[in-house]
């Protein structure tokens, strides 16, 4: 290392300062897309994040299918047919916690302060982040489907069924991610967001029909599992994969996603503005 390359060059700094004229402000769309680009760069630079969230569902897939599959459904292949659409839900929903974690990281590192001091369209950082998020959702969902297919899973509705299920789950995640964004803006550290986030999503996922048919459960639990939105989403995902769309379940899933966004998006934007 030579000193020449690691020091500031004052003459060059002076030239750099003199040489600028303020360009016209970019429009809202370009600003949001620029933040989207930032989200993609993070996916590229920090692939560990993606790994974390995809490994857990894959582990569950292997464990449940081979350990309990025979006991639960009679055979591992029958169980795989039942559980894979649900694991798709689990895999993608787990990824949404990262929306909150990355927002909190921005906040605690002071990056949010910089963005908020810029003359830009205010919701752009939040909306742009969705783009990076959606890439993560799609990758997480695709990984679980591919592993399933490798293990012998064949959706009746083929590729289009799988894509439809994936699309539904991703749309649902857009809604849910705002709930975690609120957590991300309220809690003190990225770790706290992770803990609180998984503390919420983990039990909800297990108390759903992702792993077991609720018909086998005791009464009160069964009642809970049946109204759990994650069950409804898993049912919708299963029906799409099977090529027999369960329209009410799909509509309820979309409605829940819309409701989540309606409640949590305004809270997120308000907190983002004032923190």
């Amino acid at each position: 290392m030579t000193t020449v390359t690691t020091d500031a060059d004052t003459a060059a700094v002076r030239r750099a300062i003199a040489g600028t004229e303020r360009p016209p402000r970019p429009g809202p769309l370009q600003t949001a897309l620029t933040f989207g680009w930032r989200g993609m760069l993070k996916v590229k630079h920090v692939p560990e994040q993606l790994l974390d969230v995809t490994v857990t569902p894959v582990m569950f897939l292997l464990m449940f299918t081979y350990l309990f599959g025979g006991a639960i459904a009679g055979s591992t292949s029958a169980y795989l047919d039942y559980t894979l659409p649900g694991l798709l839900v689990m895999s993608v929903l787990f990824t949404t916690v990262y929306s909150g974690i990355s927002l909190n990281t921005d906040l605690t590192k002071g990056v949010v302060d910089r963005f908020r001091s810029l003359p830009i369209w205010r919701p752009a950082p939040l909306l742009g982040a969705l783009l990076g998020d959606s890439v993560r959702y799609v990758v997480a969902g695709t990984v679980i489907i591919v592993v399933g297919v490798l293990l012998g899973y064949r959706p009746d509705a083929g590729v289009s069924g799988a894509l439809a299920a994936l699309a539904l789950v991703v749309v649902f995640s857009f809604g849910l991610s705002w709930a975690f964004s609120v957590l991300g803006l309220l809690l003190r550290s990225p770790n706290a967001v992770m803990n609180a986030g998984f503390m919420g999503i983990f039990p909800l996922t297990f108390l759903s029909n992702v792993f077991v048919d609720p018909a086998t459960l005791p009464g009160p639990l069964q009642a809970f599992v049946e109204v759990n939105p994650i069950s409804i989403l898993a049912t919708a995902s299963r029906s799409l994969m099977a090529g027999e769309p369960d329209v009410p379940a799909i509509l309820v899933s979309l409605a829940v996603a819309a409701a989540l966004a309606l409640v949590f998006l305004p809270i997120t934007t308000r907190l983002y503005r004032s923190r």
Partner: protein, 329 residues
């Protein structure tokens, strides 16, 4: 509007509280355009909170402020269009490379793709980060990170720049570089509002200084005026024999004035208007038969400014200014 030099920042009776904590308590500030203005204060004085209000990140509970002629509450967007913030935390994205950070800001400020890249490269080169341009910022040293942070603030040269403790935690060489950059900015016509805990830093850069304590301005003036009110430096003596502390304090007090105690019980300090008087004080100590392990003379520290202005040290809570009697009895 003022009839005199135009003001870049004009704050009147700003306040901001967090629950029971009053972070800023009726702060007035007038920063002439084209200068470096230092806001000097200890931890928790309200420096960052003030900057955050002026940079429109938070709104004041009461009072008002105009930045470059725009009201920070009702014309926040116009303020943002002309200022840059270099926050206390180097607010760069650690998960991006240095170059990506700068391109990102260029794009957000409206440069074309090619324009943003060219500007990023120009700044990386000028700030001595070119060799690490493609590395993730989380692997940068503190000095590089701070330079990148400042570069990020001048992707488009701002008319006013907020610099919040830009050199805290940097080694002397990095600190000098940051100071050089700040000087270059002012030479280019940018006004700088600099928050710092170091009198030396304010002295090096600032044309005017406001000393703040518990959210209020307690003194204002040029660095020379401020230092004159404090003395040019302090004499520190380390005693060989702890038992002689009261005697030593007496001698120093007669020779120089108020004595402040240091965390190390063997060390006594007294502000000192000129080195000749320090020499006299040391001679007096010798005449009194008080042995010294060591003595030194330095620039006034913020602590000494505080002692002179408030009668208590910077880090002590109000009302607990220790007297020598209390500590030695």
């Amino acid at each position: 509007m003022s009839l005199h030099a135009p003001l870049a920042v004009e704050a009147t009776a700003l306040t901001k509280s967090y629950g029971a904590t009053t972070a800023v308590a009726g702060l007035d500030l007038a920063v002439p355009a084209g200068t470096v203005y230092g806001v000097l204060g200890p931890n928790g004085a309200g420096k960052t909170t003030t900057i955050r209000m002026l940079a429109t990140l938070i709104s004041p509970d009461s009072g008002s402020a105009r930045v470059l002629g725009h009201d920070v509450v009702t014309e926040a967007d116009a303020v943002r269009a002309e200022v840059s913030l270099t926050g206390q935390l180097a607010s760069v994205d650690e998960e991006l490379t240095g170059r990506e950070n700068l391109v990102l800001l260029g794009r957000l400020l409206g440069l074309s793709r090619a324009g943003a890249r060219a500007r990023a490269d120009e700044l990386l080169e000028a700030f001595g980060i070119a060799t690490a341009a493609g590395k993730l910022v989380k692997h940068y040293s503190g000095g590089m990170r701070r330079r990148l942070d400042i570069a990020a603030s001048i992707v488009v040269t701002p008319r006013l720049m907020f610099l919040d403790e830009p050199t805290t935690g940097l080694d002397p060489r990095s600190r000098n570089q940051v100071w050089e950059i700040a000087r270059a900015l002012v030479a280019g016509g940018t006004t700088i509002l600099l928050c710092t805990q170091y009198l030396e830093e304010a002295d090096q850069l600032a044309d005017g200084i406001a000393v703040i304590d518990r959210g209020r301005v307690i003194a204002e003036g040029t660095p020379a005026q401020l230092k004159a009110s404090v003395g040019t430096g302090a004499l520190h003596v380390r005693l060989l024999d702890l038992d002689r502390r009261p005697d030593a304090a007496g001698v120093l007090e007669r020779a120089l004035g108020p004595v402040s105690l240091q965390p190390d019980p063997a060390v006594l300090s007294a502000t000192c208007p000129d080195p000749a008087r320090a020499a006299v004080a040391v001679a007096e100590l010798a005449r009194a038969g008080i042995g010294l392990a060591h003595f030194s003379l330095d620039q006034p520290s913020l602590d000494e400014v505080f002692l002179a202005l408030t009668g208590r040290g910077a880090e002590e809570p109000p009302g607990s200014a220790p007297t020598l009697e209390e500590q030695t009895s």
